[in-house]
Amino acid sequence: MANNFLLEIGLEEIPAHVVTPSINQFKKRASDFLKKQRISFKAIKTFSTPRRLTLYITGLADKQPDIDQSVKGPAKKIAQDADGNWTKAAIGFSRGQGATPDDITFKDVKGTQYVFVEKHIAGKPVEEILPGMKKVITAMTFPTMMKWGSYSFEYVRPIKWLVALLNDTVIPFSILDVTTDRVTSGHRFLGKDVSLANADEYEEKLTEQFVIADAAKRKEIITKQINKIAADHNWKINLDPDLLEEVNNLVEWPTAFEGNFDDKYLTIPDEVLITSMKDHQRFFYVTDQEGSLLPNFVSVRNGNDYDIQNVVAGNEKVLTARLEDAMFFYQEDQKKTIADYVERLKKVSFHDKISTMYEKMQRVQVISGYLGKLIGLSDNELKDLKRAAQIYKFDLVTGMVGEFAELQGIMGEKYALLNHESPVVAKAIAEHYMPISANGDLPQSAVGAVLAIADKLDSILTFFAAGMVPSGSNDPYALRRQATGIVRIVAEKNWNFDLGSTLDQIIQLQNQENVAPKLDQAAQIDAVSNFVKDRIKQYLDDLGIRYDISDAVTTGSHTNILFNIASGKMLQSHKDDDNFKAIIESLTRVLRISQKGSFKDDDLTVDPSLFENDSEKALNKVVSTAANDYDSLNAEQDFDRLASLENPINDYFDATMIMAKDDALKNNRLRQLTIISKMILLIGDLDKLVVKG
């Protein structure tokens, strides 16, 4: 017979964002548990609301399958003495297997007779296995855990009830002082407790008690209700999936309703209105068919439509108070100039151990100015960039951003335009925070993109210099995300520059202009370069570049984001070429042997008079040709040049003893190989490539 099992954890309201990950975790743990216990099942259906996490497991086997097992014991000659009596070893072994010596048989294992006991382990019935679900429940982990009452146990919120029903029978276990039962709880206000006759009637009985337990169904109901309101008024409502998910996990019995606010508040920027509605009140905002914001909103009540006018009036009142505040800030903020705000940034800390925000802007002016010239911005763009860098953090001290922190940058753009800054400057202020998340949108304008890179580069460099380097999962200032942002922007804009020398230059310029922080930034150039290279590797991995290739091109001799990425793509495209293995093998041979020498950059002249054979002469000739302009070519061209060295390198190794006894000969040869290896390392440490035979 197939069995159905219902397992419900009743809780005080779980945070909305935790509901879905938790039910998924619950399902996975239960499924793993059943597999480990060898109890087969057909499917697990999940239910989840703010107050419950529930699994409905169908088609469970009656019991574990039986196991027939041959257990090997000691050798026959140890198990029996000369007279054929059982020894202590044999008796002990059979006892250990729950048998007696009478059960022993002999079998031949590689020519020797051994003792065996045939064991039959009867599978346990499912009802004996299921109490183990207690551990499945208690092993769950959550982003924030809490204690309550006098218990030391930690969970997402206090556990209020447990339902564990195998068909029509309660599976008994307890967690703290809550014992499993067949009674579940209905809607907090509309419903009551209800006793379930069997596992199968859960969803139906809860619907009678005003709980839509199926999260997908609940979401569908909300969507339909909102779409109907939109259709009735000829509105457009953007059903933001994140907001819908959150609202869905705040209610058990949804009823969507509409409300209004005075249209005088429509003079406030849209972003402020939307933030007030969406982030603060969890309202859906409303536009007309053309996308213009309307003085209406839609929200979802956790209940039915009884006396819903109270709910509408209350929500309108709260929103109005918020908008009144926003209007006040919007008007007050415009009474001051950007210069006033910039002045106040002298008192705002970027970080205690680094500097003020004002000083950060001074450094970023230097960085962005240098970068802007390096990548060839026009004179007009450079002018806008300079202005943007002088003021770009000013909105942090406006009343509006003080109240709505998430509007940083966005209010900066608005207020900059109101203060007659150029649109390019205003846009750059908004864009410098981008990308806001790992896969977030990138700045579109060139000026915004340079400012974004400069701002992030300064943060990484100064935090490193102040000793606050991310380690493991500890990255409180999101420096990794910022470095990834730099990589993505450079890749998209196709900006070609060497990071190491750029860092060196900007630090010198900051010193010259007296805006450098009182920290040793120069000592961090290599660390910052390597930090960025790690993010380049991640970027290449995400593009599907083979791991050894992304590893090789990010462990070479220099950091040029664009070139490193191009090298990765280039090697990926060649990795299946017929001659790829042969080329890489000859090049890595050079890399390895060249490590036996150590020469300064200005001590790399090969002396032809020390050549002893033709292969040396030949190699020297092709290398000088290949090295011509090598540094300024693209990755593909560089690799072509290296590929052309394959045969001369092989001939050279066949004919030449590198580690000659004579030091002069040896060093001359190592110099030749070092020249080649420097060329190879520009692409990457190709020794890291895995080439299969």
């Binding site: 924030t144 006098s150 206090p158 956790n302 929500n315 003020t356």
Partner: protein, 308 residues
């Protein structure tokens, strides 16, 4: 719609209700503080193993929130109704919802939700897990299971319910400005508090003597430390509260730079952690008299001896 209770009637009903649930009705504590949590009846009493159930109104001063009595919802001083129960009762959410019914708020006529909001007060070394309670979209209550107070982990856990009396009353009386609330007997909130709001805002933002306040802060801090060394827990705590309020005044005045700010907060936190430890030690010396279960009491005292 709901019956229009005056502010004082709301207070009386809440007191009546929570007293019936076994809470002692305490009075507001007479040292300035930013929140009901900072009353010794919550901060100190939530620490340690002894049970504690109390309810009280706490006038709470937040100088930076002053608006000269011009903003309808922001105040230099507002009133919190504070309920603290340790260990947290199993049915604390139901107790809370029933208290709303006492105020004439029938959940079926409204939308009441528990929205995640984890509370932190780093300067007092406190953190908790809980919700804001929304009544038709308005936050009327902060509901917290304390996890750490004064740097000490809670065992058992105290539950704290903080009603924002002005907000709750604005809803019940359906007024748009707190100054239009009826406090009692036809007297309006504005009649009582409009001038103090203006004067305190004026004082906090424009008139306060920074030099004097800086000196006060240092003096209060020194005094708190001196008293802590002598294990005079409650007088020391009063001076810690004074430090905190003095800092808030300086902050409102814009006298503390962002860099210095962290420094002041960590000085207060240091004192808060210290007094928390001293408080438990003092209760221990007294033999945890509020634990009525004699066996448990002896066990706790024995454990402590073994630890040392």
């Amino acid at each position: 719609m709901t019956e229009k209770l005056s502010v004082q009637e709301i207070i009386l009903r809440l007191q009546q209700y929570w007293a019936a649930q076994g809470c002692m009705l305490m009075q507001a504590y007479d040292t300035e503080k930013g929140a009901g949590t900072m009353s010794p009846y919550t901060f100190l009493r939530s620490i340690g193993p002894e049970p504690w159930n109390a309810a009280y109104v706490e006038p709470s001063r937040r100088p930076a929130d002053g608006r000269y009595g011009e903003n309808p919802n922001r105040l230099y001083q507002h009133h919190q109704f504070q309920v603290i129960m340790k260990p947290s009762p199993e049915n604390i959410q139901e107790l809370y919802l029933n208290s709303l019914k006492e105020l004439g708020i029938n959940p079926l006529e409204h939308d009441i939700r528990f929205v995640e909001d984890n509370w932190e007060n780093p300067s007092m070394g406190c953190a908790g897990v809980g919700w804001e309670v929304w009544l038709d979209g308005m936050e009327i209550t902060q509901f917290t299971y304390f996890q750490i107070v004064g740097g000490l982990e809670m065992d058992p856990v105290a539950s704290e319910i903080t009603y924002g009396l002005e907000r709750l009353s604005s809803y019940i009386q359906n007024v748009n400005s707190v100054f239009d609330l009826e406090w009692g007997d036809g007297v309006l909130y504005g009649d009582i508090f409009k001038e103090p709001e203006y004067e305190h805002s004026k004082y906090s933002f424009e008139v306060s003597d920074q030099e004097m306040l800086f000196n006060f802060f240092n003096d209060y801090e020194r005094e708190a430390k001196r008293l802590l060394k002598q294990r005079l827990v409650h007088p020391a705590y009063d001076y810690i509260l004074k430090c905190s309020h003095t800092f808030n005044l300086l902050d409102a005045r814009g006298a503390v730079s962002v860099t210095e700010r962290a420094g002041y907060l960590s000085r207060i936190r240091y004192l808060a952690r210290w007094v928390a430890k001293e408080f438990v030690a003092a209760r221990k010396r007294r033999g945890f008299p509020l634990i009525k279960d004699e066996k448990k009491r002896q066990e706790l005292l024995k454990d402590d001896k073994e630890e040392k």
